[in-house]
Amino acid sequence: MMSRNTLSEDFMKGIVRENPIFMTLLGLCPAIAVSDKVSSALGMGAAVAIVLIATNLTVSILKEFIQGKVRTIAHVAIIATFSTVVNLLMHAYLPALYAALGLYAQLIAVNCIIIDRANSFAQENSAGRSVVDAIGMGIGFTLALTLIALVREVLGHGTITLFPAAGWNGTVVVPGLGTAPIKVLGLSAGAFLVFGYLKAMFNAYRMRTTSGERADMKSGQTA
């Protein structure tokens, strides 16, 4: 209302400028734990995006009634409800994905990006803009998580796991790496290392595009 952002800016900021994984780091935890396989990363991304869209829509519609002290608890209750729904649906219709995500499917409810969008965007904007914001954030989240998963799976397992289709088991084996992968990148240590190096790469790219000093200050703020 006060800001003059257009709908396309609402949509695009989640993908690049305020990417929930690489820029604001809000979507990082607990999602990065399922970045060891491309298929789990895509599944996690879709599940988070659905909860994010449903939460943003509900909060923006109910924002008149959610004020003051009950704000946090109301947001948490809404998010927990939608993550329970997504969990039950996944358990019923996508049991393989549900098993692969394990504990982390239930922990979608505490993904910081969802509560942050509810609190800082949906609470102040119309329903339409909140949904557009959630779709952008969901896509940015999925792309970033899939990128981490791609690096970790190709180097750590020598494979790319996608979804099985007719007559194909859904796994691409990378020649050479399939027999001698760098195993540590598939473990939890690898998640930290791959994220650290990718984040440094993005910082270097940003420093080259914007003026060096400003990029440094900005990365210092999010740190």
Partner: protein, 196 residues
């Protein structure tokens, strides 16, 4: 599992931060200084111990008898949020050493993946009430251990020259990765040899 087994499992072998990758947000954002790392670690021990105990009571005395275990995410989250806000009130009211030590860090734990994570892990592992309390306490102690070590590393890193793109978050994550590799030494066979 024996009580000693629970303690060693959740402090070292299955460290929530380094193995399960939970609670990363406070782990990288509140470990710039040694004192704040110790503060959030202490707050985490209190919150996790009480949260696992309360969620055990909720699960075994309410959800299971009524057959409504599908509500566990909702009820567990509301319990942890309520618990943290209640602890904040106590810390403010006491206004003494407790407030100075952990008061500032409690709000960071309101919606935290590590707190809900250990509550769900303890329920899934089907521990007794005391076992759950112990699992929560040990997971908190494990969190305190890795945040304090991380803060010590980062205070030393401040004295070193680091290439610009790596400053801040990236170098913290790479240090955490190396720490996680070191923690791989504490595995299931280590536990078996230790306890016989």
């Amino acid at each position: 599992m024996t009580f000693i087994g629970i303690i060693i499992t959740y402090t070292l072998v299955q460290n929530l931060v380094l193995v399960d990758l939970l609670g990363l947000y406070p782990y990288v954002n509140v470990t710039r200084k040694f004192s704040s790392a110790a503060g959030i670690g202490a707050a985490m021990i209190i919150v996790m111990s009480l949260a696992t105990l309360l969620t055990w009571v909720m699960y075994h005395l309410v959800l299971l008898p009524l057959g409504i275990t599908f509500l566990q995410i909702l009820t567990f989250l509301l319990i942890t949020v309520g618990l943290v806000q209640f602890l904040e009130m106590i810390a403010k009211w006491s206004a003494g050493a407790l407030h100075r030590a952990v008061g500032a860090y409690l709000p960071l734990l309101t919606v935290n993946s590590a707190v809900l994570g250990i509550a769900l892990i303890a329920v899934n592992a089907n521990y007794s009430a005391f076992g759950s309390l112990l699992a929560g306490f040990s997971a908190g102690a494990g969190f305190l251990l890795v945040t304090v070590v991380m803060a010590a590393i980062r205070e030393r890193l401040d004295l070193e020259w680091i290439p610009k793109p790596f400053r801040g978050i990236p170098i913290a994550f790479i240090s955490a990765g190396l720490m996680a590799m070191a923690f791989l030494g504490f595995d299931a066979s280590f536990l078996r040899n230790l306890l016989g």
